[in-house]
Structures are given as structure tokens and as C-alpha cells.
């Protein structure tokens, strides 16, 4: 049995990728299952999806804990999630990254295939939806599924749901990524510390779950503690403000749904806190003097 775990962000299509891969495997006469891991996922938040492929019927229904292959749709996930957890020693990682495999630090030396799927997706699909591009890279790296079957599966699945043209464009994205994929070995230097969590015993929990502002060894809890949650990894683009052009009309500050744009009245200035920017682009779209433009984050 070949097991794949997809790490993505809500909106990148990790679930669709898992399903499409399963469909491609079925086209080649295998058995396959695909399913997502559900949490309270929003767009941009980390999500998981799984695919199992086998020549026999598959009865296993659990999450994939020891994958043969890990597919990472967004390399910003490497900062917060140990993507190689449980990966078999002879397994491999397929990753969406601008860098070459030997420059990517996964915390483990392992066979790695890298492709800049975001650029491929932006070029061909005009949106940073990287699922089909990364599948192209998977086809090349794993050698398990032929790219032709994958293209057929993409055309079927996307075509059915979103129209024939979208299906064909996505198949093209997979083919382009297939040709651009570089295979090598990753670095294994960093030690990823898993984020500490506040795990009180039940006796320590307040009645009714009511929390006061507090500080634990895992950081702030209670009212206003969401500032612990850095969401910069969600962004594909981020705003750059031209101070010369800015007229301080404050519209971007009012419109920003995140609180990324902070006003400092004493200095009469605006500040952008990229830790909390999800790159929606409302500020750039609404700026009356075009003082804000969106640029690629993490280049």
C-alpha cells in the first residue's frame, strides 16, 4: 500500500489534490481512497488530506501516520508543522518551493522533489491554487502514476465541477510542473519545536470555560490572546505602502479585517504588522490614491 499525506492551507485545494490522485490511481486499475482531516478550517489555515493507493481493496480508514510520501502545498508550513513526522525512511517529500531540494531544510535528510508550484499556478491558472501543479511534481517524483493518467483525472474531476476549460488549464499546470520538477535530497539540520499548548488538568479549568486574561508557559490565554497566533504564513501577497503618495485618509486602516494596519496617533502614522497579514489585498484595492501595491510574500 502506498500512503500519501497532503499538507496544505485552506483554499489551496489539498482535498481536491488527494481526490484527484486517487482518481488517477483508479484510472490505472488500482484501488484508492482519499479523505480530508476536518477541523475548524478557514481559508489559509493549515489542513491535511490523505490518499491510499493499493492493488488490493483498502480497508484501512484511519489517518495516515506513516506516509510513503508527503506532499507540501506551501513551504511556509515548514515553519510551524513537522511535515516529515512519521515519514518512512525510504519515503520522500514533494514540496512547493522556489528553492532547490538541497537548500530545503526539512529536519531530515530525505529524497525531495521541489517545484515552484505557486508561480506555475499564478501563470497558468491566474490564482495561487497549487494543487494540480504539485500533483504534476508528485507524478514525476514518485513514478507511481503516469502523468497521462493524472491529466485525465484532473480533466475529469475539475472539468465536471468547474467546466471543461478549467479542467484543461489545470491539466496544463500539472504538465508544466511535471517538467519543472527537480529531484534531490533535503537538508536535515533544523529541529522543529512543536508549539507549546496550554493543557490544564480538568480541576484547573474555570467553571463554564470562563477565562480571564492570563499567561501560561504556552503563552497568553483568555481575552485578547489571539495575538499569539501569527498568521503571516497564510499570505501569498503582502501590501507595500508608498509613504510619499499616502494621504492618511485611514481607509485601509478601517477596512483591514485583520488589524494588520496599525494606527499610531501620536506619530500620526500608519504601521503594517506583517505578522497578522493574510494578504487579502483589500487595502490595495480600496486605496483612493493607489499608494498601496501587493507584492509576493516570501520571495
Amino acid at each position: 500500500m502506498f500512503e500519501v499525506r497532503f499538507h496544505g492551507r485552506g483554499g489551496q485545494g489539498a482535498v481536491m489534490a488527494a481526490q484527484t490522485l486517487a482518481e488517477a490511481a483508479v484510472i490505472e486499475g488500482n484501488y484508492a481512497v482519499a479523505f480530508p482531516f476536518f477541523g475548524a478550517e478557514r481559508r489559509g489555515a493549515p489542513v491535511l488530506a490523505f490518499t491510499r493507493i493499493d492493488a488490493k481493496k483498502i480497508y484501512s480508514k484511519t489517518q495516515v501516520y506513516a506516509p510513503d510520501c508527503v506532499v507540501v502545498l506551501d513551504d511556509s508550513l515548514l515553519d510551524t508543522i513537522d511535515v516529515v513526522a512519521g515519514l518512512k525512511p525510504d519515503g520522500m517529500v514533494v514540496i512547493n518551493s522556489k528553492e532547490k531540494p538541497q537548500d530545503i531544510d526539512l529536519g531530515k535528510e530525505i529524497k525531495t522533489a521541489a517545484v515552484d508550484a505557486t508561480s506555475v499556478a499564478l501563470e497558468i491558472l491566474k490564482a495561487p491554487i497549487t494543487n494540480t501543479a504539485i500533483l504534476g511534481a508528485f507524478a514525476k517524483a514518485a513514478g507511481l502514476i503516469r502523468i497521462e493518467s493524472l491529466e485525465e483525472a484532473i480533466k475529469r474531476r475539475f472539468g465536471e465541477k468547474l467546466g471543461e476549460k478549467v479542467g484543461e488549464r489545470n491539466a496544463m499546470a500539472a504538465r508544466t510542473a511535471y517538467e519543472k520538477t527537480v529531484i534531490g535530497k533535503s537538508k536535515g539540520i533544523k529541529k522543529l519545536e512543536s508549539r507549546k499548548q496550554w493543557l490544564p488538568a480538568y480541576q484547573e479549568l474555570p467553571v463554564g470555560g470562563a477565562l480571564f486574561e492570563g499567561k501560561t508557559e504556552a503563552g497568553l490565554i483568555g481575552p485578547g490572546s489571539f495575538i499569539e497566533n501569527k498568521v503571516s504564513g497564510w499570505a501569498t501577497f503582502r501590501p507595500l505602502r508608498d509613504k510619499e503618495k499616502c494621504t492618511m485618509c485611514l481607509l485601509c486602516w478601517f477596512y483591514c479585517p485583520e488589524g494588520t494596519i496599525v494606527r499610531i496617533s501620536d506619530r500620526g502614522d500608519l504601521m503594517t504588522n506583517y505578522d497578522y497579514c493574510k494578504g487579502c489585498g483589500i487595502c490595495a484595492n480600496e486605496c483612493p490614491v493607489d499608494a498601496i501595491k501587493m507584492v509576493r510574500a516570501r520571495v
Binding site: G10, R42, R43, W198, P223, F226, N229, V231, F254, E258
Partner: protein, 319 residues
């Protein structure tokens, strides 16, 4: 209060987990910024609960309470009474979604409105149950795709028109009802401020685009609200003690098609359906502004009295 007079400090902190470009997050942040720290908040089951509080984290810096879906009105009444008993003067605010107001919370909201309890009820209207994965609600407009009104061969999208919640709420003879749009900041600030100062049951109806549910570009959240107002899909007005006042009137009516084509949830609509919706919008426009919209748009159907009591109606229900 002007835009520049709003406080720097924010009572709904950054780091919350709403989708990029979330209209609800934007409305909540600004409403609470205006309402200030002497506020207690109730949120029923909705996105706002999930992205605003994930135990043990929370974005709210004001007292916050959450229980079930259908009881926003009742909970607010209770919270206000408890604070009054303690001798504290606070604004009790509920942020309910359209599902929690149009459908599930309607009875509780109606009870609180009938009692004219001193609370502020805010409905964040994103026109479907977005939190559970985009199901149709009473607030879903005609033609819109949702997972429970799919696009098929025979029927495409929602077949019913948006429920007229405004008239239901106003029928309770409450002191203040207003519709708001995040795309009109001055109007938004003025109405929230006004709602704060009035005593009794106040209802603010906010139009909050949902990026995944409406299938649109996150950067267009504000643009789409503006277009909704310009096309007449959303109208800005307030009703104070039964007296209605239009607070913003668009110069020239835009075609509803322009608004629809910005969003994936409408893109399947047939010419016939768009026409049907346009007629509905024209009637609404006529009712609100007391005049025809853009003649070339509204010519397609003569606007009729929307809520006229007909002879037939009288016979059935009495005068």
C-alpha cells in the same frame, strides 16, 4: 465621530482565524471599536465564534459569552439584566449571523424586540450558513448557488427571494433599525454611534460579504458591498420610532448583472433569472427611493407597489 476620531486601540485583536478578506471580521472590528470597552458581547454559533474564540485563545478584549444558536435575544436580555443588577451600565451587543437571525434565532430576537429590552442586536448578513459550509438561509438571494440550492439541469440555485427581515423587525415597533454596509464608513460609524445612545431594542443589519461562500476575490470585499448598494441589492436606511429615512441614495442605479458577475455564486444564472432578480430589485428600489432607478434597467418591468394591501388580501385577512 469621524474616521480619524476612532480610537487606535482595538478591542477585537489581530491573529483571529477568519478567512482573508472576511467581511464579518471587518464589521465586528469596527463596530466594537466604536462601541468601546463598556460593552458585553454575545455571539451564537457562527463563524464569528470560531474565528474569534478558539479555546483558550480569544480575540475579544471585552466580556464575551457564547452558548447556543437560537437564543441571542434571550441571552442578551439576561446579560443586560445581570449587569444592571450589579449596577454596571454596559451596552449588551449580540453579533448573530443571518442564519441565527433570519431562521434559527428569529423567535428569541422577536421576544427581545417585543419586550423592548435595552440591547443592541447586530445581524451580520452574509446570505447563507457559511460556518457549516454554505447552506441556504432565509437571507440567501434569488439565484444564488449554495450546497443546498445546487446548480442542476432543471433548477439553478436558490428559487426564493431574500426574506424581508427588515419589515419583520420594524413591525415590533422598536426604537431603532438600520442597515449598514462596510463600504460606506461614515454611514457605518454614524449608525453604530446612534444605536449606542438610544435606549431600547436596537437592530443593526450589516451586509458582510463572505469570500468562500460568494466565491470571489478576497480583495473585492469592499468593492462588492459598494456595488450592492449602487445596484439596489442592499439599501442604506434607518427607521427611528417608525420613521424611515434613506441615509444614502446612489446617484444612478447600476444593473444588478454587474453585481452578480463579480461573484461565483451567481455566475450560472440564466438571462431569465437575472431579469427576474432585476425586477425584484427594481420593485425594492422603487419602494425605498420612491422613484424609478435607471430607466433603461427598470424598463424591463413596470415596478409595482411592493407591499400594497390588495382587495383580495383584505377579503382574506380583514382590513
Amino acid at each position: 465621530m469621524k474616521l480619524k476620531d476612532l480610537p487606535d486601540d482595538n478591542l477585537f485583536t489581530a491573529g483571529h482565524t477568519a478567512c482573508p478578506g472576511c467581511g464579518a471580521a471587518m464589521s465586528i472590528r469596527n463596530a466594537i471599536r466604536i462601541l468601546g470597552k463598556d460593552t458585553v458581547v454575545y455571539v451564537p454559533a457562527s463563524c464569528a465564534v470560531v474565528f474569534g474564540t478558539t479555546f483558550p485563545y480569544g480575540a475579544w478584549k471585552v466580556p464575551f459569552f457564547h452558548t447556543a444558536f437560537e437564543n441571542t435575544g434571550a441571552c442578551l436580555t439576561g446579560m443586560k439584566a445581570a449587569f444592571e443588577k450589579k449596577g454596571k451600565n454596559v451596552t449588551a451587543v449580540g453579533f448573530a449571523g443571518d442564519g441565527g437571525t433570519y431562521d434559527i434565532g428569529l423567535q428569541s430576537m422577536s421576544g427581545a424586540a417585543e419586550r423592548n429590552d435595552d440591547i443592541l442586536y447586530i445581524c451580520l448578513d452574509n446570505e447563507a450558513y457559511m460556518n457549516t459550509g454554505i447552506q441556504r438561509s432565509g437571507g440567501t438571494p434569488f439565484g444564488a448557488w449554495t450546497t443546498t440550492t445546487p446548480v442542476g439541469k432543471e433548477v439553478q440555485g436558490n428559487r426564493r427571494f431574500k426574506k424581508n427581515l427588515a419589515d419583520i423587525v420594524i413591525a415590533h415597533e422598536i426604537p431603532y433599525y438600520a442597515t449598514l454596509s462596510i463600504g460606506h464608513p461614515m454611514d457605518f460609524i454614524r449608525k453604530v454611534e446612534k444605536a449606542m445612545t438610544i435606549k431600547g431594542f436596537r437592530f443593526l443589519h450589516m451586509f458582510t460579504p463572505c469570500i468562500p461562500g460568494w466565491k470571489m476575490d478576497p480583495a473585492k470585499t469592499v468593492e462588492v458591498t459598494k456595488l450592492a448598494v449602487e445596484s439596489g441589492m442592499w439599501t442604506l436606511y434607518e427607521v427611528e420610532n417608525g420613521e424611515k429615512k434613506i441615509t444614502y441614495k446612489p446617484g444612478k442605479m447600476r444593473r444588478v448583472r454587474d453585481y452578480l458577475m463579480m461573484q461565483g455564486r451567481f455566475r450560472h444564472m440564466s438571462e431569465e433569472d437575472i431579469k427576474k432578480l432585476q425586477m425584484w430589485v427594481c420593485r425594492k428600489w422603487n419602494l425605498h427611493y420612491g422613484e424609478k432607478g435607471a430607466p433603461e434597467v427598470c424598463e424591463i418591468a413596470p415596478p409595482e407597489e411592493h407591499h400594497a394591501v390588495t382587495e383580495e388580501h383584505r377579503e382574506m385577512h380583514g382590513p
